[in-house]
């Protein structure tokens, strides 16, 4: 008895989260900005303001949640493909991007609305706080891939740099996102190309290359000199 009650409870809770989230997306797409206040927003939904805070503490928390769901959905879709386990690390990352972009495509208006906040200043991306939850998830995923890659020697661990790889991958993700938002090619084919090229480049940079040989050689010469 108690069990069903709690199940009912969770279900009711999930229902309400979905309802709030959908209403929020609807609102921002209709108005191009977030609601003036939680009070007004909840009134529109014919609910008490207090209920809102049972689920979220602000509008930006909803946005973070939505983005995190995109991430979760991506992971669950790629891991459900049986071929995924046979993939190399490079291919796993590619699969992630292709699937992620497909999911974003179904929500393009919202994504565009939400991601236009991102500003690029020099090499840094600013105003990405709405992605914070998504980022945590992605970095986890990326670090797992990196660890796997280091094990198979697909990726070389380098002093100092080796611990910053995940940061690079995050930047790459933001690049792909921005690229897709601005892509006007048919079927977003240009984005597919951008993903292939970006991932190939990053993996080539992370694998053993002329750079390592050059560094090694320079070190050798330096030590000889002493």
């Amino acid at each position: 008895m108690e069990n069903t009650a709690s199940k009912k409870n969770t279900k009711a809770k999930a229902d309400k989260t979905v309802k709030i989230k959908e209403a929020y997306i609807d609102y921002v797409l209709e108005h191009g900005k977030e609601p003036a206040s939680v009070y007004k927003f909840m009134k529109m939904l014919k609910m008490k303001e207090g209920i809102f805070y049972d689920y979220y503490n602000s509008f930006s928390a909803i946005e973070k949640d939505i983005w995190f769901e995109f991430f979760e959905e991506t992971i669950s879709r790629i891991t459900s493909e049986s071929v995924y386990n046979e993939y190399t690390v490079r291919e796993k990352l590619l699969a992630f991007y292709y699937t992620w972009i497909e999911i974003l495509k179904d929500n393009r208006s919202f994504v565009t609305y939400s991601a236009h906040k991102i500003e690029k200043r020099g090499l840094a991306y600013k105003n990405t706080s709405f992605l914070s939850k998504f980022k945590t998830g992605f970095l986890d995923f990326a670090n797992n891939l990196l660890a796997e890659g280091k094990e198979t020697e697909e990726i070389v661990d380098r002093p100092l740099l080796g611990s910053r790889y995940d940061d690079g991958l995050w930047r790459q993700l933001l690049f792909v996102l921005k690229f897709w938002i601005n892509d006007d090619s048919k079927g977003f084919e240009r984005t597919d190309e951008a993903i292939e090229k970006a991932v190939n480049l990053s993996f080539d940079l992370m694998s053993r290359s002329a750079l390592d040989a050059a560094f090694d050689f320079a070190k050798f010469l330096y030590q000889k000199r002493k």
Binding site: K186, R190, I195, E196, S207
Partner: protein
Amino acid sequence: MKEQSRIPTSKVQRASRFVRTGAKVGGNYVKYYAKRAVNPNHNRESLHMENAEDIYEGLSELKGSALKVLQMMSMDKNLLPTAYSERFTMAQYSAPPLSYPLVVKTFQKLLGKSPEKLYDTFSKNAKNAASIGQVHQATLDGKKLAVKIQYPGVADSVTSDLRIVKPFAIRLFNINERDLDHYMEEVESKLIEETDYNLELERSVDISEQCGHIENLFFPKYYPELSCEKIITMDWLDGLHMKEFMATNPSQEVRDMIGQALWDFYDFQIHQLQQVHADPHPGNFLMREDGQLGIIDFGCVKVIPEDFYQKYFRLIRKDTLINDDELDRIFYELQFINDSDSEKDKKLFKGIFIEMIELLGKPFHHDDFDFADDSYFKQIFELSERVSKTKEVRESRTARGPRDALHINRTYFGLYNLLNALQAKVVTRKPEWLRLEQA
């Protein structure tokens, strides 16, 4: 690199090799633009030097549609010595291969299912590179299949690639812009057609059915239900490409059989179907030791307009060359010479064209012809070498010849070269009307 060979996944190596190729090409672009930046007159000056090998070397590294235009124009204008243009004909797109996740995505998007669900087996790695795509091997119901998948963005890049090459071509070939457009349009329309796999499928089925009766030819079966605008599924053909085939030392008899099949195939297409597989690239033919020739890839098919056909092939009749008035008329009609030419130019170009036609039409003037005869190819080589060094030709700013001739010339040029590589002797079948009036 050695350490990597221990990694169980050989694909890693392959992937990095492909990227290295990419980097090389990229580097060449950089080098080329850097040269131009330092010295904007670089191209023109070195072109006017007789041995502008650097430029040709640089050119041969240009990829994609840009290359194709230059390649075809240089063949048509006889600007490049044969040795160079031959190298160009071998050029291909060298895009790095599609990653498997992108292949899966393409399938899901266009055919609604992943390759694993459509076929019994499907190779994760590409077996071959096609000109604008890659080929995977698959099996279905015990049959071995070839599945060709197009690179993304190829169709989009055609137009922009051509735009990049335009200013370059104007300077390199010293040609005026209006005339250049006339080439560009022809090439662009063909290239865009090549990116439409639906059209290719239709033509492949059509031509292979109509040519089915020709002896010693075989074609793959096509599977429309497993094809779409970016994917084509067909039978996997066994056989060897020219180079490997010749390395097996086939007998003269077998080589003649294949050469004959090749000649008959083109003869039938040009004179009966009046549309032709206009890309006689060695990669499109598979040869077998029993003298059978397999034909794949109908990406570039040129439909020959009747009017052009009549005029163009009249030139090949031996008697035409003797009849000066008629010759003049045809030359005018085909725009080999124009009213804007001075009398001196007219005479010069007429001389060159007559010499070229006589030489290139030679196989038609005999009942059989031995393409193993290297001296014949040397003559062609010397002629184009000489023409390309003629000052008036280099400085002529008009494009000569009809645009339709571009693909027909290229087809014959490719066909002759293939037959030479095969060292084959063939019976040069031709339509009755070409034959009779020679006597």
